[in-house]
Symmetry: C2
Subunit: 334 residues, 2 copies
Amino acid sequence: MQRLIWAVIISFLMALVIGPVVIPWLRKMKFGQTIYDLGPHSHLKKQGIPTMGGVIFALPMTIVPIILSFDHARGSFLWVGLICMLGFGLIGFIDDFIKVRLKRSLGLTPMQKILPQLILSIALASWAYFGGEASTKLIVPFADFAWEPGIWYIPVMVFILVGTVNSANLLDGLDGLLASCSVVDFATMALIMMFMAVNSGEVATTDARFTSLMLLCGSAVGGLMGFLRFNSYPASVFMGDVGSFTIGGALAGVALLTGTSLLLPLIALAMVASSLSDIIQVGYFKLTHGKRIFRMAPLHHHFELGGMPETRIVSMYTLVTIVMCLVVLLNYTV
Amino acid sequence: MQRLIWAVIISFLMALVIGPVVIPWLRKMKFGQTIYDLGPHSHLKKQGIPTMGGVIFALPMTIVPIILSFDHARGSFLWVGLICMLGFGLIGFIDDFIKVRLKRSLGLTPMQKILPQLILSIALASWAYFGGEASTKLIVPFADFAWEPGIWYIPVMVFILVGTVNSANLLDGLDGLLASCSVVDFATMALIMMFMAVNSGEVATTDARFTSLMLLCGSAVGGLMGFLRFNSYPASVFMGDVGSFTIGGALAGVALLTGTSLLLPLIALAMVASSLSDIIQVGYFKLTHGKRIFRMAPLHHHFELGGMPETRIVSMYTLVTIVMCLVVLLNYTV
């Protein structure tokens, strides 16, 4: 627990140091955001703010947990978690790079984007299923019960991995939105791991493997807090796909390794709301040949066009995330 | 712990319900903020936004801990904590009421404001010292040691009580600033009490008394989160002195009862920074016959006039508060 706090503090300070180095460099290299043509008009003022700021937290999230778990038998958990995070992060990085360098607002084509995600997800899910190190039981929220999906574990996990990463990407639409919600998500994940270890009484056996993942979550909390120093409204840097994919990858990776994937829809409700609203919007549009349910999807743009100030939407999302996470934590405390 | 989470959730929902009832009423009753003439010019646009919104969290903070501790021997701790909170809150309420009704920006005269505060503080400190129920040992941060100040306990506590309440009042200068920082402060206080109970092994004996205070902190977290729904930038309501005094009173009251007063300068660093910058500014101004150290005091106005956006200052203060609180929590974990 003390180490968890250190992970937060060190990563926070690290991000504070990296920020002022990276941001002017990104600006100089003209990694400015090309604003999505279909977004709200008010977002046009954001043109030119550097993107790919995700490196500000991706770096501490990679380094700090490795260093702080130096005296533990890290097991494969930390490495698999990092592979998941960095693998998705790399896909996001390539997407960003193409967007920025080719001045194409949409980056990779949908096919180019989804294929490597599927390959990575299938590899990770197969490792978990056939490797025998991770538990393939999925904890069911609010029930004293874990679901054992058998071979279905692989498609379910692929869906959760790809879904989480892309939902995180969709949620990254307002200054500080994804970062604030994710700070809460990762803090919750860390606490769940702590309580799981305490409650099961298996502190000794699960400690080493879970500790390193807990440190990964702690570094995410700290790194994202440091990033928020630069990304909260009015943002001077955006995280880019490299950032949102790193967040989604880390979150889904930790969930995969700890069997807590089915808690994600509650913990990361904000992400789910973004995806679902997008899917509903597109589906409804096609079904009705042109009608819309939301003013704009994802959901946060619907609120924005309804006249709610950007800062208010971010605080509302963050507050709801905190409450949802507390509801989940109710299960793990006495 | 589960009950603590419930306190947060219930108070949050309660504040969400109270807000839309109270805010239009405050507006109708013309309890609009008369902006302090000496503040930054940009604050003039805030004229007319209703104040005294502190009732939105003061109500759940009073009701929820009483209800949720129904089956505990509440002891005198909860009542003394509530007296401290509501006593200071009442002084703030009177100040607000005079400001608003007489359209005087400064409310009570300094003497009228400080005298009841001193009387209340002396009464509370004396109760703690002579009553024998609260420990008069003060935990020293970062030391395995508690300071026993003897009869000096009374003036020290009076200083801390009056200091905290007025510092909270000074920190309440930007949208969402005091509320955000206080959410973190109260969450930390609740966790410290939890860890203290666990570490001392005295769970049984300290449980009942501390539990009710922990619930008070939890209700503060939830109530303030709900209040932030309306108070985060751009604010549609201000908390007023009734709000800042309630927060200061509750925080100092809990610290008094748990012997954690000496941790307050770390936990509530943002409040201390406000007071200290104010004192330094005024002192230096008098000494040098007209020179200033800060562009404007309290410190957050210094940053504001330096060109930092209001929302950024709030997020910076909140992030620093989180880190300071984590540093304090390092002492209570293994």
